[in-house]
């Protein structure tokens, strides 16, 4: 600490009996300064951590309308702050899942020719249940619950028991 060296440089050589006293003062000053530095840096570090944005929890999101979907097609929709993928299978079933690839976070797409879900970034493949079947993805896509109410197709997180 510059405080200590500065004082030592200007003061005359102190008697050995004074050294513990000086050390005591230095420790006192040093810990005091350290504590203030910590109290100064702590708020800054906490400030730099971005606050959590409220995610759409159990709320259902309107993903699409029945009238705009056809068998063997898919549509991406906004699910909270992230994209979701709604697929109408060839047998006219609706499947919904997160569209964020579990590998490195690209947005996946439906391949009508393969009837599978494909990530263009690193050639990852998922089946229509979102299970990772080939390529680099380490985990399945998060599957969502689909509810059809009249013409509207709602998607929500699966409620865990």
């Amino acid at each position: 600490m510059s405080t200590a060296s500065g004082v030592n440089a200007t003061a005359p050589q102190s008697a050995p009996s004074n050294v513990p006293r000086r050390r005591f003062v230095n420790i006192l000053l040093g810990t005091g300064l350290l504590a203030s530095a910590a109290s100064f840096l702590y708020p800054i570090l906490r400030y730099l951590v971005p606050p959590k944005l409220p995610e759409s929890g159990g709320d259902a999101v309107l993903a699409a309308r029945v009238s705009e979907m056809k068998p063997n097609t898919a549509k991406t929709f906004r699910f909270g702050t992230r994209p979701g993928l709604l697929v109408q299978t060839a047998s006219s079933e609706y499947r919904a899942m997160s569209a964020t690839c579990t590998h490195l976070g690209c947005t996946v797409q439906y391949r009508p020719d393969l009837r599978e879900i494909w990530c263009a970034c690193h050639n990852g493949m998922y089946d229509l249940n979102g299970r990772n079947i080939s390529g680099p993805p380490p985990r399945p896509l998060e599957a969502f619950e689909v509810q059809v109410r009249g013409d509207e197709i709602f998607v929500r997180r699966k409620q865990e028991a």
């Binding site: 510059s2 500065g6 200007t10 100064f40 708020p43 906490r46 400030y47 730099l48 606050p51």
Partner: protein, 362 residues
Amino acid sequence: MASPVTSVRAWLDERFPLDDLKALAQKKKVPVHRYSYWYFLGGMTLFLFGVQVLTGALLLMYYRPGADEAFESVQFIMTQVQFGWLVRSVHSWSANLLVFMAFAHLFSVLFLRSYRKPRELTWVSGILLLFLMLGFGFSGYLLPWNTLSYFATKVGTEIPAQIPVIGRPVLLFLRGGEDITGSTLTRLYGFHVAILPAVATLLIGLHLALIQWFGMSVPPGVEKQWLARPAEKKEIRFFPNFVLRELMAWYVALGMLGALAALFPWSLGVKADPFASAPAGIKPEWYFLSMFQTLKLIPAKLLGMDGEMLGILAFGVIGAAALLLPFLDREKPFNTRRWISGLACVFLGYMAVMTVYGWVAK
């Protein structure tokens, strides 16, 4: 036995002139006399500027300029971001204290006549820095996009528009259009975070280099006394003695700043609505209050001239006189020296009275 610290030092010594800098710092002396305490004001202003740079950079992490986003993002900083209220409050408090310190520094230098030859350019750079700080205050005031700042900016940009010929182009330049809109916000934001800081950094560098070059001034009375009796001359070393004193003052200032920001947090106000009427009792920041009140009091017509025009002309003359003060201080052909302190006192008194008047006036 070479400890890691010594070997790092040795490595650095061969590649960086640390010892030369240290020798320079230790050789540098600072005069000590009964007015020495006034010397802390400049350093304090510099410290508060540092606080502004740091807290300003932090605010930039979350602030978004734009008429639809600015208010909300400041609200977000103050309510959602951890310690965001503290960072913003420190930025506002420090800004106000900085302007106050700059004025205090200016008047202390003026009354101690530290602007004498060869330090004229130090003074000029200081006055330019003060103008810059006022510019920072003015441009930063709009950024939260609340009612108060909206109308303060409206009035503030209207004032230079009164100047003949160049008035309108200046208004358009400041507002980025006819009215105060999102374009004004992004424009003043650009001034506040890029242009003014760049110019301020250069000017502060020049100001400090000049102070380093010529050393600290000694007031004329003390100088005379030291010349007559050299034994009374007292100096301390810049490093570590003066630096430690300075750091102690900064440490106390930091504590006070934290306390002020925590106990009197800056409020955000109501979001600006360009189609709402100006609320009653609208006022600018305190450092513009004396000018604001003067313009309010001047009659519409004075001496056959537009009253507003006359006021602005007077501010211009005062600003120019402040800038050129060292060159106005002379003994021949007229002895203006004894007038300067007196006029400065009158001016200071006027500013104080008008500020208080503006504060209490409805």
